[in-house]
Symmetry: C2
DNA sequence: ACCACGTCATTCATATCTGCACCATACAGG
DNA sequence: CCTGTATGGTGCAGATATGAATGACGTGGT
């Protein structure tokens, strides 16, 4: 057994999580979506209103400059539109288009499908323990 | 409870991934290393010899064009050197420099440290089950 | 020896992401 | 009201990643 790379828990943890991410990414790809794009759309759907880019960036756990570029791409695909904030002239809000809403709905279907497929490999007890352990490990909600 | 984003297992899985990755990435950063760079160095250390970029790319689970650029950066930092393969003139091998070996050793220390810190939050039984569940989920070795 | 085909590394276009610098705007304290 | 400071969005450089196209080289069949 090699002690430099192969068998470290760190390596396996990252490897497994990357694999999972690729599964979702790959399933979304035929829809012309990435996890980043889907995440932005999903947060807008969840919010139920247009959000300032700053807020959207916070909810997507990324920096503002990243959201600027992501919204650039989403806007180029007509999935969202930028609108000035009437209450703060510095602020720009991203609003879903109907196409954006539709694309999110499609994306959600494939996300759910991959999720079901992945978790079907584990008993529900195992799955619960996995999520709980990850929550502890990552300090999540 | 929201059903669009917040509570899906997919979302939590990906969130945990990002968090864990950032932990390692952040710990490596003061050394001037990223996970990508460290991974390449680690694979070279593990191999014990200079590797063709193709092989290195395979072991790092990325495409060749990515490895070309990664080795560019590693070479610019004098952590590896490119050398022609005497047996195949198409092939270029990446070899560790002594500085590369030293940097890997430093990186390994912080990786181990973060790993210990993360897994200290779980009992060893829980940790084992986590790794096993992830292995099942990701279909890994 | 030659050709077709595969493989190697590289380059380029593009996507995603970060951090820094910049400018316009908001806002609090004098 | 003015000024200093904080904040919002953007632009830009750079890291990391993929995929397509390219040119150089190996190889097997003829």
């Amino acid at each position: 057994m090699n002690d430099v790379v192969s068998v470290s828990n760190a390596y396996r943890l990252i490897w497994a999580l990357k694999h999972v991410e690729e599964r979702f990414e790959g399933a979304l790809e035929p829809l012309g979506l990435s996890l980043a794009k889907f995440g932005a759309l999903a947060n807008l759907v969840e919010a139920g209103e247009a959000l300032p880019l700053r807020t959207l960036a916070d909810r997507c756990a990324c920096v503002r400059s990243n959201m600027t570029q992501l919204v650039d791409r989403l806007e180029a695909e007509k999935l969202v539109v930028r609108a000035d904030d009437p209450h703060d002239r510095r602020s720009v809000r991203a609003a879903l288009t109907s196409e954006g809403r539709a694309r999110h709905a499609e994306g959600l279907k494939v996300i759910r499908s991959v999720e079901r497929e992945l978790f079907s490999k584990l008993s529900s007890k195992r799955a619960e323990e996995l999520m709980e352990s990850l929550r502890v490990l990552a300090g999540g909600p």
